[in-house]
Amino acid sequence: MLASYAYLRPSELSGDDGLLLQTSGGPAAHPRFFNGFLTAAEATATGLLAVAEVARSRYYQQRPALLDPVVTGARDRLRFESFSGCCGVYARLDVLPAGMDGEMPGHGTTNVDVNPPLRQALARVGGGDPLHVAVGPDALEVSTMDGSVTERKVPLAARWLRGFAEVQVIAAGFEPRFEVPAGALRALPQSRDVLWVVPAGRSLRLTSRPVAGAVCLPGSNRLAALRPFMRFATTVRAYGPAVRPGDRPVASTWELTSPELRLTLTLSPEPNRGFSGEGAVLTALAGDDVVDDAELVSTVLSWDPTVDVPALADATGLDAGRVRAALTQLGTSGRVGYDVTEAAYFHRVLPYDAAAAAAMNPRLVAARALVAAGAVHGMTVHSGEARYHVRAVADGYTCTCPWWGKHRGDRGPCKHALAVQLASGDDDE
């Protein structure tokens, strides 16, 4: 699979016109989402650099990571998002209503070009004056520059897409855990290990084990992209699932906030674990009853800053629970993102075919193959010479396979459990 980018010309920052970010794909070939001023120029430039930094980083393995950030123009804000090449770090910069002053001619999501000369120019932005910014070329430019586009094709791994989508679903289970002055983050040592963080006065303390109220910090070196933004932020907030002593590593979100901007990084549970394999959505994907609901809900999403579940329920006639399940499903196909600060989904359609990538989840494909090969015998799955025994427990299935033994539900069901689930679903029909 290839991602192909076609920009009219490189994005650039000049003294006369300010920042012109070029766009590619989404609702149009070169959509335009914003034209106006950024009130916090230096901070926004630094935040944008942080998002670009994550897009071109790999924190675990040498794997190509040259996918451009995406930008979403919602009704009153811009959201820049990127995902690291190792599939373990997700970054988002929200330019809040206070941070921008201008018109939003269109809504949608598109790729945005952040090239090396632009990064250098962004690093130079300083001073207190507002910066003129256009996201996307104006219509005149599109019509006159027809035919002369800068094209680039880069490999687009399915796991990258799956991870980008999956992180939204995982973050939907997060709660705010603590808030301290932004400087506290600067004092944390750089480490590649999984540690836990608890607030201590106005600063933070690391601990080696999960305790109540702690947030997992898997590889503090992966927060490096936040560092330059710290001097603009007033507070750092951490989000994560509730943990108890003895828990295994979990994902977490770290957010720096200023009145105009919000920069968040979401880290996978361990540096060597990409979000792509977390399997948080496999059970939902294995059943297909929510797919229709998801299609229905997607038709009434309308680029509001956040998705309002009761309003959607009214509009679709589904109950709130089914709307939420539908949103989860939409999250896996890249059609909504999750904002932990607002504790709500937001409308965003990745400019790639993410739905196909989600359906091609290797574990799901393998499970379907097992069912098709007739390997499922009740609760026992035959796989070559080996026999795996699947057991139904309170919240799902367990298995005797080595994969399950290694992850114990941390990364969703194994292929044998999925196969049993699929096979039993077939029996029902």
Binding site: P116, R124, L195, R205
Partner: protein
């Protein structure tokens, strides 16, 4: 014509490179092409391992491929196969070029570019061949990341560099690719690390070569300066950025050049790595001294620099502002306002300097001490394994993560209990997975008698009815010999007693499960720290008595060792009613007050080996009373060797649960590992100290020394775990003893002082300022007495001052007062004076 491949193949297979070249040279293009398909088939059908030891054959294949395959694309595909690509470094360039010439110039250029465009590792390995082809063809060099990296490394490490007359500078000056590739040096991420690397035989670095070439006029200064500043602004790993900072330094920009880049330099000050920020600071100072820097710009950026933590940067900036204040007296108030930022810096000398320059400390100092963590109650063990299915699942999961008390004990108990009720189910489910579970690969040597994974696997095999393998026989023999009191000599290093206790219990399952089955184990803990509730044990033994079975020997001994230190009177009364041998033993054990605490003796091991620390503090143990059982006697008798021992990987995380009421004993056994994490920079056993903190019993010398080493461990995670343990033990550890141990280690140079200071700072801020204050004050005498004082002494004094302030402690510290009274302006003196002032009478 059809006989060409057999002839070519013969030479290729025999690895005759020269003969291959000759043959290709004398053949027609048509003949060469006729061998293409056969050559490709030959490469594909040869299994990878056959290439490894046959470099000549591989070289001949490369030469033949270049000569025969119809297009450069097909050559690149064949050479891109992992097995060939990995070995491209060893392929001689000359014969390849000789053969390539036969194919024409466009072919050579095309192939060179294609080899350079492969995946990173392959393109790097093929650099020499690709570069030779491109040069021979006279085409523009490829500009892929890998090719440029290869180009740089070629200048540093090529074979010719072994000639001492060959220096990087001369080679680069004559390099035809220099102008074309130079701009890429500023664009490729991470290439900076290679630019500062010293070549073979120390013939210079690329950075010095570039600076000299600029001086000679061969390269454009402005282009180099812009490239460096641009790269520094865009950022990279600190290690990679260093090169560009050095290059700017060596180019020594003029005031004009620096002034032209003022805006860029200003942007580097707040966030760039400290060396880069320091460079920007120096250049801006030049600009300012020439009167070409606006004061507003300076003040704004100063505020950001003064908020940084690096002492050097802050101090330089303060001195600069001091000079500016003298120059511009009417702006002095504004400048003093900016200087005040530095009053919040942790170092005393910086605060002092800031105050001298008119800075004022913030009115309300930030409270920095957090609440002490509240210890969570120790969790209960999860419910026992109840079915063969669950047992199979747990067994399958057992070796994919390090063993824990919970996983080990639950599976061990499950093997016994589930097999007693459902032997057929256990055999049916476990048998098919036995080979898959085997924790040892077939290449491993015989397992060591300390290998718990192997012992547990043997126990699982026993439960599945598969006995009689060498490991199993050995374990049964170990159990038998231990009971008979026969010493075994199958281990070079004696196995530590806690590890032996665990292996013996797994071994006991092997020895007894089929011959003398019991319905349950009695030693399975009731809480995750290893303790067995006394009432529960009475119940277990009562059930055994009722059903007419006796618990196994080591199982019962282990159960007794896991009893809490304090037991209610009514439990003792219930125990007295038991009539079985086991019941009587329990009642006697409880009445005697459990295992008497063994007597610890601190000793210093010495070592003359250079890779070992000079000395290491360890603790010997002697039983505190008459014999209490085989396991107890082994656990309470520890005579450490005189020299520091050999480190071996063990499952120390399980040890605290062997003797949960005597954590100091376990600490004594585990000291070699914990100490090695600090004095040999080994990976520590990070869970161990927090686990010991969760156990019970006095904190004696062994655990105190363990904490001292733990706080000075190399790995962040190990130190964080030690801080957790210190906070949890804040009420029971003797701070003076801990401080004395830390001070002696730091003064003796066996551990690094700054690690311990950092960890203690975290502990103080984490809610134990009183404890840390006492620890630091106890450590200071030894540290200050050392000549010279260890690196980081001022920071230890600063921490003392910080904790004295936080706790309001007053008292005398003679060694510190003495240092404060001596003349001197070093940071140690300044910190000592501040500390004396703070701790002195009000």
């Amino acid at each position: 014509m059809s006989d060409f491949w057999p002839r070519l193949g013969w030479h290729v297979h025999r690895g005759e490179v020269d003969a291959t070249v000759r043959l290709l040279h004398n053949a027609t293009e048509e003949q060469r092409r006729s061998a293409a398909a056969d050559l490709e088939a030959y490469v594909k059908k040869t299994p990878p391992e056959q290439w490894w030891s046959r470099q000549h054959r591989l070289q001949a294949v490369v030469v033949a491929a270049v000569g025969c395959l119809p297009s450069a694309a097909r050559v690149a595909t064949l050479l891109g196969r992992t097995v060939i690509a990995d070995s491209m470094v060893s392929v001689p360039v000359k014969p390849v070029v000789q053969v390539a010439r036969l194919r024409g110039t466009p072919f050579m250029a095309d192939l060179g570019h294609r080899l350079a465009a492969q995946r990173e590792a392959a393109a790097l390995a093929a650099y020499e061949v690709a570069a030779a082809l491109v040069v021979e063809a006279g085409s523009a060099p490829p500009d892929t990341d890998a090719f440029v990296r290869g180009w740089v490394r070629h200048h540093l490490f090529a074979q010719e560099m072994l000639d001492p007359r060959n220096v990087v500078l001369d080679r680069m000056r004559d390099d035809p690719m220099l102008t074309a590739l130079l701009p890429r040096l500023f664009e490729i991420d991470g290439i900076g690390t290679d630019l500062t690397r010293e070549s073979w035989r120390k013939q210079g670095t690329v950075v010095t070569a570039l600076a000299t070439l600029a001086k000679e006029g061969r390269l454009d200064r402005t282009m180099l300066l812009d490239g460096c500043v641009g790269r520094l602004l865009r950022g990279d790993r600190p290690n990679a950025l260093r090169a560009f900072g050095l290059l700017v330094d060596q180019l020594a920009p003029t005031v004009d050049e620096a002034a032209a880049r003022t805006l860029d330099l200003v942007r580097l000050l707040p966030d760039a790595p400290s060396t880069v920020a320091g460079l920007a600071q120096r250049l801006l100072r030049q600009v300012d001294d020439a009167g070409r820097l606006e004061l507003d710009t300076l003040l704004k950026v100063s505020e950001q620099v003064l908020a940084r933590t690096e002492k050097g940067l802050v101090k330089t900036q303060l001195r600069w502002l001091g000079a500016v204040a003298k120059r511009e007296p009417d702006r002095a108030g504004e400048i003093a306002g900016v200087v005040s930022v530095a009053c919040g810096h942790p170092a005393a000398d910086i605060q002092e300097l800031a105050r001298k320059l008119g800075g004022e400390a913030p009115a309300v100092p930030e409270p920095w001490v957090g609440d002490a963590p509240v210890a969570a109650p120790v969790a209960a063990m999860p419910p026992p394994i109840s079915s063969a299915g669950e047992l199979a699942e747990e067994a399958a999961a057992l070796f994919s993560a390090p063993l824990s008390v919970v996983s080990f004990e639950r599976v061990l108990a499950g093997l016994v209990a589930v097999r007693a009720t459902d032997p057929d189910g256990v055999t049916e489910l476990l048998t098919p997975m036995l080979d898959r579970l085997n924790p040892r690969s077939e290449f491993d040597h015989l397992p060591s008698p300390a290998d718990l994974n192997d012992a547990l696997w043997s126990a699982i095999r026993t439960a599945a009815g598969a006995t009689g393998k060498s490991s199993w026989q050995r374990l049964v023999a170990i159990v038998r010999d231990t009971i008979r009191g026969v010493a075994r000599h199958d281990s070079v290093v004696p196995v530590p007693a806690p590890q032996r206790a665990l292996v013996l219990r797994a071994g006991e399952v092997c020895a007894r499960l089929t011959k003398q089955p019991v319905p349950n184990l009695v030693a399975t803990p009731t809480s995750v720290n290893g303790h067995v509730d006394a009432g529960t044990l009475v119940d277990r033994l009562a059930a055994a008595e009722r059903d007419g079975w006796e618990p196994w020997r080591f199982d019962l001994e282990q159960a007794l060792l896991r009893l809490p230190r304090e037991v209610d009177a009514d439990v003792l009364a219930r125990a007295r009613k038991l009539g079985s041998a086991a019941g009587t033993r329990l009642a006697d054990w409880l009445a005697a007050g459990g295992l008497p605490d063994p007597v610890p003796t601190r000793i210093a091991q010495r070592s003359a080996a250079v890779w070992m620390p000079e000395w290491r503090a360890v603790v010997a143990l002697a039983p505190g009373g008459p014999g209490s059982g085989l396991l107890a006697d082994e656990l309470c008798t520890h005579v450490p060797p005189k020299g520091t021992g050999v480190w071996m990987p063990l499952t120390e995380a399980l040890w605290p649960a062997v003797l949960p009421g005597h954590r100091d004993v376990i600490a004594a056994w585990a000291l070699p590992t914990i100490a090695a994490a600090a004095d040999q920079d080994q990976p520590g056993s990070r869970e161990l100290l927090p686990l010991l903190a969760e156990c019970t019993g006095p904190v004696g010398p062994a655990l105190t020394i363990a904490l001292a080493y733990g706080l000075a461990a190399k790995e962040t995670t190990d130190r964080v775990a030690a801080v957790d343990a210190v906070l949890a033990l804040a009420g029971s550890v003797d701070p003076v003893l801990l401080g004395q141990e830390m001070g002696a280690m730091a003064a003796g140079g066996v551990v690094k002082l700054n690690r311990g200071t950092g960890a203690l700072t975290d502990a103080a801020r984490g809610g134990a300022p009183d404890l840390v204050r006492a620890v630091v004050c106890a450590a200071l005498p030894a540290v200050l007495a050392a000549t010279p004082p260890p690196r980081g002494t001022p920071d230890l004094l600063a921490l003392a001052a910080e904790t004295v302030t936080a706790t309001g402690w007053r008292g005398s510290l003679p060694e510190v007062t003495e240092l404060a009274g001596r003349p001197g302006k070093s940071r140690s003196h300044v910190e000592a004076r501040r500390l004396t002032r703070l701790a002195g009478p009000e």
